[in-house]
């Protein structure tokens, strides 16, 4: 079955600290992988995507993610978190039609 697991429901970090949000997926074929961010009251904004090629992808706002096929993972990282990064982050997998989303990780940033 196709699924996405985000094991961390809630993460709290201090401003300036590094961040890694975990994402594991189950998908029968080569997946397309996405990270979206949702700020309070806002729609979803695409941070980055992986379709093929280089397994380390760069996104907007200083985020990056690494596709590891052997681990079925697509973890999101940022070296130094800003207070404005506080939001809900969703990992998603797809192969041509619908996207399958994880349940999200809520990021809280302390000054």
């Amino acid at each position: 079955a196709q699924s996405v697991t985000q094991p961390d429901i809630h993460i709290t970090v201090s401003e300036g600290a590094s961040l890694e949000l975990r994402c594991n997926y189950s998908y029968g074929a080569t997946p397309y992988l996405f990270w979206y961010v949702q700020s309070p009251g806002q729609g979803l904004q695409l941070l980055l995507k992986y379709f093929s090629g280089d397994t380390l992808v760069q996104g907007i706002k200083g985020f990056e993610a690494e596709f590891k096929r052997s681990q079925s993972s697509f973890n999101l990282r940022k070296p130094s978190v800003h207070w404005s990064d506080a939001a809900e982050y969703f990992c998603a997998v797809g192969g041509g039609d619908k996207l399958i989303f994880g349940t999200g990780t809520r990021l809280q940033v302390f000054p």
Binding site: G43, L44, L46, K49, A92, D97, K98, L99, F101
Partner: protein, 113 residues
């Protein structure tokens, strides 16, 4: 338009009433998707359109839910005889090609009282 738009932004309705939610995709985007997001949860796929056809309706939770798309543009999601469990944010997304990244609208928050 510049992005995906949805209307209304908020809808409060009484249990048993019908509601229509509208989505205007990005101009030229052939694929259109509807998702539902219940409070504190991830997004749940409802239906996907390629052009005006819906090859995947597998996510529609019951026969009270239906959707159509016309002119390869606007889409309407209709919920008949609304129930309290239908309360959620309904998100629409569009993409230029099947499988490419999806651009999301701001959503319609539906509250069934």
């Amino acid at each position: 338009g510049a992005g995906v738009s949805q209307s209304p932004s908020n809808k409060v309705t009484e249990k048993g009433k019908d509601v229509e939610l509208r989505c205007d995709p990005i101009s030229g985007h052939t694929a259109l998707y509807w998702y539902r997001q219940r409070l504190g949860q991830g997004l749940e796929f409802l239906i996907y359109f390629q052009g005006n056809s819906a090859p995947d309706k597998s996510g529609l939770p019951s026969d009270r839910f239906s959707a159509e798309r016309t002119g390869e543009s606007v889409s309407t999601l209709t919920i008949q005889r609304t129930q309290q469990e239908d309360s959620a944010v309904y998100l629409c997304a569009s993409s230029s090609l099947r499988g490419s990244e999806q651009y999301f609208g701001p959503g319609t928050r539906l509250t069934v009282t």
